[in-house]
Point group: C2
């Protein structure tokens, strides 16, 4: 059932022993929401904990600094920034939480309503789930301390490419201003999120840039990342994140694709588009999804070349339909 902000605030005030779920492949928004909510609930004297069925990149560690590790039997389950149930984690994890999610706070129009109650603003496209969560905090009347502000800022900044992308609104900027007023080290957060280059990252970037190819009169650009490149550069998948932004940055490109070989030999695409191309439509073709300008999917193929051809075929159709 879809609910509004006051209803969500009331649910959080009423319940205790709350377990917060973040999505797999955790990013700044799901983790920022998770840690912010956990901190707020603990500040209220409630028991709260976070569950992430995946590796949390070390760069997000600082958000955990002011969270108390609490062990208790869960009475209420809240999912943050999780559009569909399968994003919760592994099959075993899904089995454990099936039909057990009480409340979901999200900003994906594609949300599948797997939770008992779902809060998704109907009158505003929130750039990050953290925008909606912050409105819930304001409604609850809780104090936004600097730890909470750090988490909310991280979510806002990472989901908008540091306020660059078209999903940013003046509300996003004003919320960021409110967080900056809490005296948070936002420049260090942005440095961590967007700017830190390790030597291994530099080597990986050089390898990956050499794979850049353009298609359909330059309307589409593709880069590919293989397991072998991680080995050659001494890096790993966690360092590949900033590369995803590159293909769409190529001049004249409407569809930017980053095709990654996973450790199990399957291929995963990150698709970023410029107006008017819908990334979500492209990925939906392979059972994936996300946002209009940034989506993801698994791509079938026995080799990288096959996977690339398969997604290019879908992109050709989308571009021809423009």
């Amino acid at each position: 059932m879809r609910i509004d902000i006051p209803y969500a605030a009331e649910l959080l005030k009423t319940h205790d022993r709350i377990e917060i779920l973040c999505h797999k492949g955790p990013d700044g928004d799901t983790l920022g929401c998770g840690y912010a909510l956990c901190r707020v609930l603990q500040n209220m004297g409630k028991q709260a904990k976070i569950t992430v069925d995946d590796v949390i990149p070390a760069s997000f560690d600082y958000m955990n600094d002011n969270i108390e590790a609490q062990d208790f039997e869960t009475a209420y389950v809240v999912a943050v920034d999780i559009a569909s149930f399968d994003l919760i984690g592994s099959p075993a994890h899904r089995e454990k939480y099936r039909d057990r999610v009480d409340l979901c706070i999200d900003h994906h129009a594609s949300n599948t309503d797997y939770a008992k109650y779902t809060l998704l603003e109907s009158d505003h496209d929130a750039a990050a789930a953290a925008e909606t969560l912050l409105l819930v905090f304001y409604e609850m009347g809780v104090e936004i301390d600097s730890s909470v502000a750090e988490c909310i800022y991280t979510a806002l900044s990472t989901d908008t490419g540091c306020f660059r992308y078209s999903n940013t609104t003046s509300r996003t900027l004003r919320m960021a201003a409110d967080m900056v007023d809490k005296d948070i080290p936002f420049e260090l957060i942005n440095k961590r999120m967007f700017e830190t280059r390790t030597k291994t990252y530099n080597t990986l970037e050089t390898l990956v840039l050499s794979t850049l190819s353009t298609h359909f009169d330059g309307l589409c650009a593709v880069i590919t990342i293989t397991q072998d490149m991680y080995k050659q550069s001494g890096s790993d998948e966690s360092e590949s994140h900033p590369l995803k932004g590159i293909p769409r940055q190529v001049e004249g490109v409407l569809v930017g694709v980053t095709l990654k070989e996973d450790a199990d030999g399957t291929y995963r695409a990150s698709v970023r588009t410029n107006s008017p191309v819908d990334a979500c439509r492209i990925c939906a073709h392979f059972g994936g999804g996300g946002h209009k300008r940034a989506s993801g999917c698994n791509v079938p193929g026995g080799t990288m070349a096959e996977a690339k051809q398969n997604i290019l075929d879908v992109i050709r159709t989308e571009l021809e339909a423009l």
Copy 2:
């Protein structure tokens, strides 16, 4: 003489036939201020024009779209974002404007008071001169139309690395929100300023990344750009701008240096630092200057290796003094 915002507003309201000067090596702040002020004055029915004694990068063209080209005899000269008189342009240009600058609107603490009246906020570190200029506009009670908003947004965004750097304040973010509310294509502006990668840029970046060296236990990173690299990649100096951000992004680095060979065979350094290193102090050693975290200077040396050694010697001293 230093003046306050109401005084500057009064001067602009009183005078007509106004010529606006931007600094050489024009960036988003000086041009954003210049075009915004020109548009505001023309909207008021005044005669106004912009003078830049340098090539204006084509990426800034959109700011000129709503400016009327007006030819008239100058009665009042306003400099925007120009810290010292020599930044106005060539020796001939300097001769023409010597002792002729009536008003300077700036945000560099190092401003040399070369103008008759200088507006520089004493109680707030403005991230961009455009912040102070916007306050002057608010004081004047003029309408901020979307053309003006585009220019102010460009200045705010470019001077803060899209709201990433430590010079950003909550006021910067709120001003950006006010501009976004004027329905400007901010995502296209940011794309143009930060994200467009040409094929020649990609090649240049690959060449330049291969020169990355670290010094003093990794506290300093240097990249070098030669005229030959422009030739090899088919690029030119105007494409080198985004590279300047790279050295400071290397993990653990406090001083990032980009050393460029100019067409005349001299060497110019762009120095960016992390707290607590003062970039302005390093560059002042060679007669340059700028801001605490981003400064520039010419570096003596007959070869790139000599120039690099010369600036590294100064940086060693600065790091040892920490």
